[in-house]
């Protein structure tokens, strides 16, 4: 893996990277003393091009330059220490000798404009093997900030003076303008800057920058670059004949220089100085009023009071304390003061009159009406008519605020209700069936738009009356409301054209109502209201009105926890309306049995009606076996068919067979490969488990699944979908096509604002939109915790891959051939060694063959482990993984570090005590420490305290419940504050499953039989062994 870092050197952005591969080789060849002082595991420049291109496209790569930097970073005598993002074995580092040392690195350089492009284009999901260092994350946030400032027009043209060879050089440049919140945000960024960002000397400087300067420099540089680029194709100078190129007057030169590549101004020194002085004095106007002063001038707007019979608005002039904004001194008090210091509520205000006067003078430019009040000797307030008050609210108030003045406006102004809006009323379509049956989001409903002001609905004639008042602020039933001219026009046009009613899809109505988008009317949507059964539906969907609880069907063999009953009821409710549902409960909460219960509930309500087709369950290969087991266990009445393997049916035969079953289980890859067999069938359900598998919209697999014929669609996933927006969109598109708009619309409207900019409003809107269709409960929810036992043990049934199955069968065949001719110790040895081999194969072919071959896609267990760990990490949990094979631990560690991109610890017998203690400490205490801890059963099974973990995985089995429980108790012990989930891995149809069954059956038997490990197996007869070892058909995934 590589970790990318960036450094801003005040003119350009340097990209460099650490490489774990180079770190590994560097570690082995450390003897080569560092004559060069070249950073030993920084990537070479050419090697940097590939990841950078992967992130931002080849176009950007073309505009990179090359550079070198000398950076001062923490190092030991052995060399530089890696950044924490670089996952390498670093347990052996002795940090006691660490200090700062200088290292040379090679970099790719980007000019300010390209730097902005690069930093803004960084994807949310990182490609495999690339991680971002803190410096890159930092500059990418600063880039987003500068981008926001540009869109908000927070920049100003300036004159910069720099000294070059004794002479002053004048340049036209653009700079950011930071005021109020923006200044605080800028300060916040300066305080979170990681030290590594400044671990170099800027060109021509003798000391490193300070964070504040560095951030400001970056903001100015990228703003200047972006603005110039945007202006390159236009001219700001009015067209004129006879333009001479010589002696261009400075104002013209300046405008030209602001929009071209050449920022320099040329004229006589005298002219330049005079121009620059004039420019500077002009620009001081936007400098906020002195913020270091203890108080500032504040303008308070009051609406006409009801008891006075005047329609005048008033602006009062006040002094406001800067450190306590609630402390306001009326101007009357200021004028009465005869000394230079005003004391008010024990607070001292120096020279209050000067301050007030200077501020009022400045404010008149922003709100000219103030000038009228200044015609008195002691101005205190200002009367305004409604239009003026509106102008103040709409434009002057924000301008005054930006200029550093205090502004107090009536509270209703900022409220959404103080606006003209529309309400959407949705009702069943005339003549439609009372019970909607299978409506779905595409079902057509009738709608009515009404104009509303706050909570008040207006008729058209009432609305027209208000409009005819021709004032921008009106009072409707005692409440002030803003009437924007453009909105009035929109409303009038809408009513002229449409009368405001018609038919629309239910999904669209929901989207408008929940998303509260500006409607087709061009006015904000205030509310959605339903009539008839739609009212009931809306209440249940969006307002959390309790759903009726279903009875657990008698055919269900087990017991549902209360929240599980709720989950099933919710699924049944959505199904009733034909809506697709996404059940996204945390791992371990029992999504599987909730779905099984739903299927049983359905069959119960079916009353022998066999019209309905089977349910198709699509899941990853690694859990086909698990589904089969769970279905058999909890719903023995359901007829389950597994569609996989070489001998699976096709065409007509498949259709016939499928119809004879209640549930058909297949895998994602077969959903694509066998699409022509699956497509013709009218599925009652299509259920996708581990629904993140359809996150890639463009994938053929996703396309094939979306095309399947299904009356109902359900998605199950344990990952937090609301945080992975492209995944969320694709899942919703499967469940309720069109509801979230096209992929492009969705990206523009939600994915970019939420993921790139962390916009809270958009995230809230999206949450409202999906909330009716996504049920996600966390194991940390209070209501859930109460229902959960402190320790949950689950068996995780995995399938073998074809490769595993072939190896397994070969080993079994070989053994059975030999075992006939052997006896005694030799036979025992043979049985035990076979057992060992088979367990290795079940774990992973690479463990059995031990050839260092690649790991992906060759083991069902590994695939399942990876899927489950992804959910563990997504939830911010930590996990222990036990294996009895040290070599498997090593394989797992490397594989998981690479695929999950986090550090994984591995404790085995060869680790010295000191280091072991260090690992335990890091796992237990570091907030961002390694989240996964692999332990060999022998080295880590006893004694340790690892309560930071709340998941325990037993990757392979010891067949001794006592040993396994002891291992589990590393996490499940005093100090554990959460529920612990224990996942015991088994390969279905193999000896693992059979031994497990035997132990379950013999639970009552004396420990002595099974307690001593696996020796009892050697006593079995050959026939028994044959049966034990034989591979059944269901074992293989595909």
């Amino acid at each position: 893996m590589i970790v990318l870092h960036t450094i801003w050197d005040n003119t350009k952005l340097h990209i460099w990277a650490e490489s774990s591969e180079l770190a590994a080789t560097a570690a082995s060849s450390r003897r080569t003393k560092q004559h060069t002082r070249q950073h030993p595991f920084a990537l070479a420049r050419e090697a940097l091009l590939e990841p950078v291109g992967q992130l931002s496209g080849s176009l950007l790569v073309k505009s990179t330059g090359s550079g070198t930097l000398s950076i001062r970073i923490p190092s030991t005598s052995k060399g530089p220490l890696p950044s924490p993002e670089l996952i390498i074995e670093k347990e052996n580092e002795d940090l006691s000798t660490a200090g700062f040392e200088q290292w040379n690195i090679l970099t790719l350089t980007l000019d300010a404009h390209t730097a902005l492009d690069f930093l803004l284009s960084l994807p949310n999901d990182l490609p495999h093997g690339i991680a971002f260092g803190s410096s890159l994350r930092f500059w990418s946030e600063v880039a987003k900030f500068s981008f926001e400032l540009i869109t908000r027009q927070c920049f100003v043209p300036t004159m910069q003076e720099t000294r070059q060879n004794g002479a002053i050089v004048y340049r036209a440049a653009w700079e950011v303008v930071l005021a109020g919140d923006d200044e605080e945000r800028m300060h916040l960024l300066s305080t979170v800057m990681p030290s590594v960002c400044l671990a170099f000397l800027p060109p021509g400087e003798k000391k490193t920058s300070v964070p504040h300067e560095s951030v400001l420099n970056f903001l100015n540089a990228v703003t200047d670059a972006f603005v110039r680029e945007s202006l390159s194709s236009i001219t700001l100078i009015p067209a004129r004949r006879n333009r001479t190129t010589r002696n261009v007057p400075l104002p013209e030169q300046w405008l030209q220089a602001l929009s071209s590549d050449d920022p320099k101004l040329t004229a006589s020194a005298e002219d330049l100085k005079s121009f620059s002085t004039g420019m500077r004095s002009w620009l001081t106007q936007i400098r906020p009023v002195d913020q270091d002063a203890p108080f500032r001038t504040c303008f308070r707007l009051d609406a006409p009071s009801e008891d006075e019979h005047s329609s005048d608005w008033h602006i009062n002039f006040l002094l406001q304390a800067n450190d306590d904004r609630s402390l306001l001194v009326p101007s009357e008090r200021v004028w009465k003061e005869r000394s230079s210091t005003l004391t008010f509520l024990k607070r001292k205000f120096e020279n209050p009159q000067e301050r007030l006067l200077a501020d009022l003078g400045k404010a008149t430019r922003l709100f000219p009406a103030i000038e009228e009040s200044l015609k008195t000797a002691r101005p205190m307030e200002l009367s305004l008519n409604t239009e003026q008050a509106y102008a103040f609210l709409r434009e002057s108030a924000p301008l005054l605020e930006q200029s550093g003045f205090g502004v107090l406006v009536p509270p209703w102004w900022s409220k959404r209700t103080a606006r003209l809006g529309v309400k959407l009323k949705v009702k069943p379509k005339a003549g439609a069936q009372e019970s909607s049956g299978l409506l779905g989001l595409k079902g057509i409903v009738a709608y009515d738009w009404t104009i509303a002001v706050g909570d008040t609905t207006l008729t058209i004639s009432e609305f027209e009356k208000l409009v005819n008042l021709k004032v921008p602020l009106i009072q409707v039933r005692g409440q002030w409301v803003e009437l924007r001219p453009e909105e009035i026009e929109a409303a009038i046009a809408f009513f002229k054209k449409k009368q405001g009613n018609g038919n629309m899809a239910l999904g669209e109505a929901l989207r408008i109502g929940l998303g509260q988008e500006a409607s087709e009317v061009g006015l904000p949507v205030m509310d959605i209201e339903g009539e008839g059964w739609i009212k009931d539906l809306l209440a249940k969907l969006t307002e959390g009105v309790k759903l009726s609880t279903i009875e657990t069907p008698p055919t269900f063999h087990g017991k549902l926890r209360p929240y599980q009953v709720k989950g099933v009821s919710w699924l049944a409710f959505l199904k009733q309306f034909g809506f697709g549902a996404c059940l996204a409960d945390d791992m371990g909460l029992g999504k599987t049995i909730e779905l099984i219960t739903l299927l049983l509930h359905d069959r119960a309500g079916q009353n022998g009606n066999s019209e309905r087709g089977p349910a198709l369950l699509i899941c990853p290969m690694s859990i086909v076996g698990n589904w089969h087991k769970e279905l058999t266990r909890f719903a023995p009445s359901l007829r389950v068919m597994i569609h996989h393997g070489h001998e699976r049916l096709a065409g007509e035969a498949f259709a016939e067979e499928a119809k004879r079953h209640d549930v058909v289980i297949t895998t994602y890859s077969l959903a694509l490969r066998d699409k022509e067999h699956l497509a013709p069938i009218d599925w009652e359900y299509v259920v996708v488990d581990e629904a993140q598998n359809i996150k890639n919209e463009a994938a053929k697999q996703t396309q094939a699944i979306k095309k399947l014929n299904a009356r109902y669609k359900i998605a199950l996933t344990g990952t937090p979908v609301e945080n992975r927006l492209s995944e969320l969109w694709s899942i919703m598109e499967f469940l309720n096509p069109g509801y979230l708009g096209s992929a492009t619309e969705f990206r523009k409207k939600f994915a970019i604002p939420i993921e790139r900019y962390r916009e809270k409003d958009r995230a809230e809107t999206l949450k409202r939109l999906i909330q009716p269709f996504v049920l996600r409960r966390l194991k940390t929810d209070k209501a859930i915790i109460a229902d959960l036992p402190e320790k949950m043990e689950m068996k995780v049934f995995c399938n073998l891959t074809q490769e595993q199955a072939s190896l397994y069968e070969a080993v079994v065949k070989e053994m059975l051939e030999q075992i006939e001719e052997s006896e005694g110790i030799q036979r025992r040895g043979l049985v035990l060694s076979t057992l060992l081999k088979l367990k290795q194969i079940c774990n992973h072919p690479a463990q059995f063959v031990a050839d260092g071959s690649s790991l992906p896609d060759r083991s069902g267990k590994l695939a399942r482990l990876q899927e489950m760990l992804e959910e563990v990490l997504a939830a911010g949990d930590k996990a222990l993984i036990f294996t009895q094979f040290a070599e498997m631990g090593t394989l797992l560690r490397h594989y998981l570090q690479e695929t999950l991109g986090c550090e994984v610890l591995f404790l085995h017998g060869g680790i010295p005590k000191k280091q072991r203690d260090m690992m335990i400490q890091r796992f237990q205490q570091e907030r961002r420490g390694p989240p996964i801890f692999i332990l060999s059963l022998k080295a880590g099974g006893v004694g340790l305290n690892l309560t930071a973990a709340n998941h325990v995985f037993h990757f392979d089995r010891w067949w001794n419940p006592a040993v396994e429980n002891q291992a589990t108790d590393r996490a499940f012990r005093i100090g554990q504050k959460r529920n612990v989930q224990v996942h015991k891995f088994l390969c279905v149809g193999t000896l693992e499953e059979r031994i497990d069954m035997m132990i379950e059956k013999k639970k009552g038997l004396a420990e002595s039989i099974v307690g001593s490990g696996e020796n009892w197996l050697t006593e079995m007869s050959t026939d028994e062994l044959k049966e034990l070892f034989a591979l059944s058909r269901e074992a293989v995934g595909e």
Partner: protein
């Protein structure tokens, strides 16, 4: 003898004069069009142009545009300048103002104290628009209204006064007024600070002098506060936690072109368009370019 005659061009039948060109002279900001951007400098020019100087005025304007004026010094009550004519030695130009008597100033400031706007605008660094009203109220004038209020002299051989050299200086002064409107006070015998001081006293508050004018030093926000990052081994690579939740919201500004609105008109123009007006196009173009980029 052309050496003499080219300075008599008002007589009309001589060859146009060819003054010796000046390197690095003071030029008007604009090559064409009106000189003077603000109302007060326009007011100043209007006074000059009301003197009916004929072609000396236009000649003076081109002198100002060409940069024939070598230096201008503004003293209380007087302007001294050097203008390069056709003789090797530059001419000395002096414009003396009739300064107001202490009593006149007393009357004017008394009038100014009756309305807060004068102090307010002066404190905000602007020339109050109705300043002439305050002067008029006590039968005085801030800007010279007649030739006799100005005493002008030039060392050139032209017997006409004002001559084109004086006119050139006059034009350039207009631009000085654009940059610093309070020069006119200085020429009338009081500095801005003195006036503010008097106004303060008139408000019956005995306040000590203090500078409420906007500071012209560079922005210093936070630069001193944030000390050098400490070189700490364990936190060297760490970003502050708040980085993970730093939110941005690109979008249209609350008020379109707020910066330009806050700046007001610039003391510079191209043709008859103020620079601020010309810049407004830039803001729209840039915002559109940025929003478009944001959707990618």
């Amino acid at each position: 003898m052309g050496r003499w005659r080219d300075d008599y061009d008002d007589w009309g039948y001589y060859e146009p004069s060819h003054p010796i060109r000046v390197q690095g002279g003071i030029k008007t900001k604009k090559e064409h069009g009106q000189i003077g951007e603000t109302w007060w400098s326009k007011r100043w020019i209007a006074v000059l142009e009301s003197f009916n100087m004929g072609t000396r005025l236009t000649r003076g304007r081109s002198y100002a545009r060409q940069g024939q004026v070598i230096s201008i010094d503004v003293e209380p009550g007087m302007v001294q300048a050097k203008v390069q004519g056709s003789q090797p030695k530059p001419y000395k130009v002096e414009i003396r103002f009739k300064t107001l008597s202490d009593q006149d100033w007393e009357n004017v400031t008394e009038a100014m104290a009756s309305q807060a706007i004068f102090a307010a605008k002066l404190l905000a660094g602007e020339m109050p628009k109705n300043i002439e009203e305050a002067f008029g109220a006590v039968k005085l004038s801030l800007f010279p209204t007649a030739l006799k209020e100005l005493e002008t002299s030039c060392s050139c051989p032209d017997w006409a006064n004002p001559c084109k050299h004086i006119a050139a200086v006059y034009y350039l002064l207009a631009e000085r007024f654009d940059e610093d409107p309070f020069l006119i006070f200085k020429l009338r015998g009081r500095t801005k600070e003195q006036i503010i001081e008097v106004l303060r006293e008139k408000r019956a508050a005995t306040l000590p002098a203090e500078s409420a004018s906007p500071s012209t030093s560079e922005s210093s926000t936070g630069a001193e506060n944030s000390a050098l990052l400490e070189e700490r081994l364990d936190t060297f690579w760490q970003a502050g936690e708040a980085l993970d939740t730093f939110a941005v919201k690109p979008g249209v500004p609350e008020i379109d072109k707020a910066i330009l609105k806050r700046l007001g008109n610039a003391p510079f123009a191209i043709g008859n368009q103020n620079i601020a007006t010309l810049l407004s196009k830039a803001y729209s173009v840039i915002e559109a370019a940025a929003l478009q980029k944001g959707e990618k």
